[in-house]
Amino acid sequence: MQRIKIDPVTRLEGHGKIDIFVDDEGNVANCYFLVPELRGFEKFAQGRPVEEMPRITTRICGVCPEAHHMAAAKACDEVYDVQIPSTAKKLRELLYSIFFTADHTVHFYALGGPDFVVGPDAPKEMRNLIGVVKTVGLEAGKKVIKLRALAQEMIQTLGGKKIHQVTSLPGGVSKGLKEEERKKFAEYGKYFIEFGLFTLQIFEDIVLKNSTYVDLILSDTYTHKTYYMGMVDDNNKVNFYEGKVRVVDPEGYEFCKYSPGEYTEHISEHIEPWNYLKYPFLKKIGWKGFVDGKDSGIYRATPLSRLNASDGMNTPLAQEAYEKFYDTLTGDRSGSIPVHHTLATHWARVIELMYSAERMNELLNDEEITSDNIRVIPEKTPSEGIGIVEAPRGTLTHHYITDENGIVRQANLIVGTTNNHAAISMSIKKAAQGLIKKGVEITDGLLNKVEMAFRAYDPCFGCATHTLPGQMPIELNIRNLKGEIINSRKRNI
């Protein structure tokens, strides 16, 4: 098979690229998904003070700087072996919950959601936030804008900056929350709950009540049985900020549960010769190629995975939604049978949105949150640390090894989307195989249906911004087995 050419890319500059190879009959033989990604960041970290990492790694991505800020700060706590004060932890988690709500909102209303709310076959001018607003009404658009604005205001207060936060540092946070700020934010918090309920309702009215959409979610084209990963607390409830990483097998049984420090025992990274992406897989099962099932080490780390890997949610409204989710899709409301339908990820995302809104309220009504005991000065000799958080797009791991002066000697990052590279490739292939056949014309609607297979993962390569309010820049090439392009579609490139 032809080696695929990769476009010149730099850090996050570029676009998603899908290469579909078809045989002489016109049927799909293989399929590749390429994302521009610069692994060099790990190398740049070498020789720099580890204390700087929470402020540098944010710049990997302007869409989710909060996730890198948190994972890096947690890894730094470990490097210096400090237990941060409880208030510091709560302030970090508060910032994080607000960020999660806002990030999931943007994805649902502007990126992934439009496929359902407006419909996968709708003309492309409609499949965006504007189309969503036209379908569900202007009020919804205003609500989304309001939520985003409130979230940005709170993130600025808690993180110092709306983008590229600065307040989390080894040993805690650099700034506390004042009582008057807490009061104001608690008011905003009520709106977040209202918004979560509103979004669940939209999902119910527009998607679940439409049997065409439900059939699409349940269709085999968008189904893969894989392992699922997600962070959980001691009771196996979903937690975004701390806990152990739990992996369940395709039948829903616990496969392993590990602390951040043990990740190298469980996760390996496979490199394909035709690509420069990393494909993480479960070490104990091994890399068996791009196949699903129990014998393949491919796992997924997405909102859907987090629900599958957990026994439920820690807050009442999200728990109710969780039960309904499993009741509808597996008939077992306990959630012990995993949901394998990739497109159900959108629903799972809305349930997580509800959870983070509720969690934010809990924290804002916690007396301790305004305490000024927010930092412990690290005193021990720095060595090694691993920080894990759940980022909106999957489990995020930062690992640093330093010398005794805290200078980074080695760094490794497994970024949210990276976990899903193999699964994304499989999902696209399956969708392409189901849709692209001999004699079938490649239409915009068909391209979109292939794209839907990976949009559910919310792959983050800066696409999110290019798509506000437009569409993900993407290039799709259909090639024959010699690698010659026989059909090509580009959008927003």
Partner: protein, 250 residues
């Protein structure tokens, strides 16, 4: 009079600057009525177009970027660089501190020979830049100020004093006194000293005042216990194009 044509272009970036524009919300909406926006993706399809103002973010990192930025410059009356990446090279330029061959190999593997790569540079290293909006991400009030001034045909005000001054005027506790180092005394103001305000040191994301005393800055950092090499690393985190006299300090 017809509305001025305004275009946005991006190069190697984290997209933070673009997102920060969305945070302008209401003020942006009212300004949008006064100009004719050509979005960057569409803009690229329409190569014959000319612009009154081109905003450019991100740094120049490949030969293709060089070609593109020349083309943009040719078609734009005024060119404004947005954010640390475009103004001083930004965090992308950390790449320059690693051997170029190594970076290519890591990123492109066996295909590395297909991808000519050049050192990361700010936009001003390649073409003339008329105005700049500093910050990582770029400062939104400054962006608005420049946009408004240009629409009204006025000359925008440019900051050239230190973050330290802003800090003093908002009566923050001095970071240096808490035992941390801080680049506020030499970093160019305009952010409202947001990091010190939040209990953090200034990491110099806005680049430096034009009359920076480099030796003085190194001495100040030495007093904070930073070795010469550490000090240089800190000073150049966001700034490949400034303090070039420190190039090669090992």
């Amino acid at each position: 009079m017809s509305k001025p044509k305004v275009a946005f272009f991006d190069f190697a970036s984290c997209e933070g600057c673009q997102l920060n524009k969305l945070n302008l919300e209401n003020s942006l909406l009212s300004i949008l009525e006064l100009v004719d926006i050509v979005e960057f993706r569409e803009a690229m399809d329409d190569r014959a177009d000319e612009y009154d103002i081109a905003f450019v973010e991100g740094s120049i990192s490949t030969p293709t970027c060089v070609e593109r930025i020349h083309d943009i410059r040719r078609r734009s009356k005024i060119l404004v660089a947005l954010g640390a990446c475009a103004v001083q090279g930004g965090i992308n330029a950390l790449r320059n501190s690693q051997p170029a061959e190594w970076v290519k190999e890591v990123v492109y593997g066996d295909d590395k020979y297909l991808f000519p790569s050049i050192p990361v540079q700010p936009v001003s290293a390649v073409v003339k830049v008329d105005y700049e909006v500093r910050g990582c991400p770029m400062s939104t009030p400054e962006f608005l100020h420049i946009l408004k001034s240009l629409i009204l045909g006025r000359k925008p005000e440019i900051f050239d004093h230190a973050v330290c001054v802003e800090c003093k005027s908002s009566e923050n506790e001095c970071v240096l006194e808490t035992g941390m180092f801080c680049l506020g005394p030499v970093t160019r103001a305009g952010c409202g000293a947001v990091c010190p305000e939040n209990g953090q040191y200034c990491s110099g994301c806005r680049g430096y005042v034009s009359n920076i005393n480099t030796d003085g800055a190194l001495e100040m950092l030495a007093e904070n216990g930073l070795s010469r090499l550490e000090a240089v690393k800190r000073l150049r985190l966001f700034c490949s194009s400034e303090l070039v006299e420190l190039d090669g300090v090992k």
